[in-house]
């Protein structure tokens, strides 16, 4: 589903991602672990084609993202849902309007949008707050709205950047459980985090990054490592 081959990305003199090679299969759930500045966010931005690699290839669903432009890029973005670290909710739109946005951009309208939005808000347990504005919600609730917006249009891939950051353990667990639930529907899910507690609690694949390189790629709680390989670092 997602393949990175010797991918490198620099910002000025800083090499944010350095020769990363890995593969994430369809329907897989993977954590991207690492401290701040390890390269997790840049890796997600490369997959979502917000950034393009300086070297190497990023393949999503078999297509080279560097070669995708215009309508192709729009189609690629519609196959993904992204939960941003800062949520990036529209401040002047209600919860329901924020969540409906991916459906609106697909030309959907009327009752089908309302029912889809209702269903996903029920799923994240925010149905009673559909008329609120983001500023009227807690941090955890804003993350849930961002997740709802990311999954409302049934994407094939879900990318989450630090979805549990600054949340209490209880709220973090709630969010991760929600992501696992979404993954159970077959959505390929990649979650960038440095929340060791959450990662250790689950028996999932963990790609550990440091200084832009993949340091380890293991299945927590399992002796056998996943098939992906480290790139040159």
């Amino acid at each position: 589903m997602i393949v990175l081959q010797s991918v490198t990305k620099s910002y000025g003199d800083v090499r944010a991602v350095n020769g990363v090679t890995l593969a994430i299969s369809r329907g897989e759930f993977a954590f991207l672990m690492g401290t701040n500045g390890a390269g997790k966010t840049t890796l997600l931005r490369l997959i979502s084609r917000e950034e393009q690699p300086d070297a190497g290839v990023v393949l999503v669903g078999g297509g080279n993202t560097a070669e995708i432009t215009g309508p192709g890029l729009t189609r690629l973005r519609r196959r993904m849902g992204v939960v941003y670290q800062d949520t990036r909710l529209l401040p002047n739109a209600t919860v329901a309007e924020n969540v409906a946005l991916p459906l609106r951009v697909r030309g959907m309208g009327g009752s089908s949008v309302a029912s889809d939005v209702n269903a996903v808000l029920e799923r994240v347990r925010l149905a009673d707050k559909e008329a609120r504005f983001p500023r009227e919600l807690s941090g955890g609730e804003q993350r849930k709205v961002a997740i709802a917006r990311a999954v409302v249009a049934n994407p094939e891939i879900l990318l989450c950047d630090e979805p549990t950051e600054s949340l209490s353990a209880e709220r973090a667990t709630e969010i991760v459980d929600l992501l696992l639930d979404i993954n159970a529907d077959g959505v390929t899910t990649v979650v960038a985090t440095h929340d060791t507690g959450t990662v250790n609690r689950l028996r999932r694949r963990v790609i550990h990054m440091d200084n832009g390189c993949v340091q380890s790629d293991t299945l927590v709680g399992s002796a056998a490592p996943p098939p992906a390989t480290n790139g040159p670092s």
């Binding site: 979502s48 309508p71 729009t74 189609r75 973005r77 519609r78 990036r88 951009v105 959907m108 917006r149």
Partner: protein, 296 residues
Amino acid sequence: MARLHVARYLLGSALTGLWRNRTMTGGAIVTTAIMLITLAGFLAINDTLNQMVTALGRKSNLIAYVRDEARPTQVMAIIDDLRTRPGVGEVQFVSKEDALAIFESRFVDQRDILDVLQSNPLPASVELRLNDPSVVPDLAQELQTMTTVFDDVVVPLDVVEEVIGISNLARVAGSVIIIALTGVTLFVIVNTIRIAVFARRQEIEIMKLVGATDWFVRGPFVAEGAIIGGVGAGIAAIALVVLYAQAAPVVTRIVSFLPVSTDTDFVRNLAVFTLLVGLIVGSLGSYFSVRRYLSV
């Protein structure tokens, strides 16, 4: 069906966007209205000034006194030729008898002077009323060369030159100010819209990231720009019509010696022009302001 949903969404989104960003919207509308009132007001003033200068030019006269011995056929041929010249309005032949009659009517208390004279001493003349004062110097010179026909050519050249100078200055200054004011108006309106779009650049980025096409993102902003420009221009147009209706009679009264036209056609056309400028600048300003944030 999808297109209908999109169209409804775009318009709804534009109206919602305007309302939720009402401080910015209000500022943009007021700025647009003020700039367009200034521009349209100056256009109206410039038009009135031009009419006044043109009217002043029409007051320019030229009188050529005909020699007594000049042949009438020759004089009439010259008059016919003068009537075909550009810039020449009326050409009137005043015979010796007419001149005497005019003298008598104007100077009733000095009729004794004429009784002393044995014959009519007043010459016949050709009087020209000119539409364009700039033709006066050349025309006067031409008539002065016809020494067998005309005895003298009287023309208030200093006044004519002054009128030509004022007319040219008014036109050049008017054009320069209108060009500069139009540039400033467009600059201010477009920048006001750019600031409004800049404040919502994150919204544009998010829409692109969730898979919106460029036109889906642009649509509401272009509609918002058109509404801001249209409403601002509408306010300007109404203000213009009201101000013109109030000011026109006053101007006409003050410069009653000049035939200044205060017709409603002009102000109506100006109001329509203002509306069109508002709509076009508003939509194009938004279109180009959004474009720079679409490359996400």
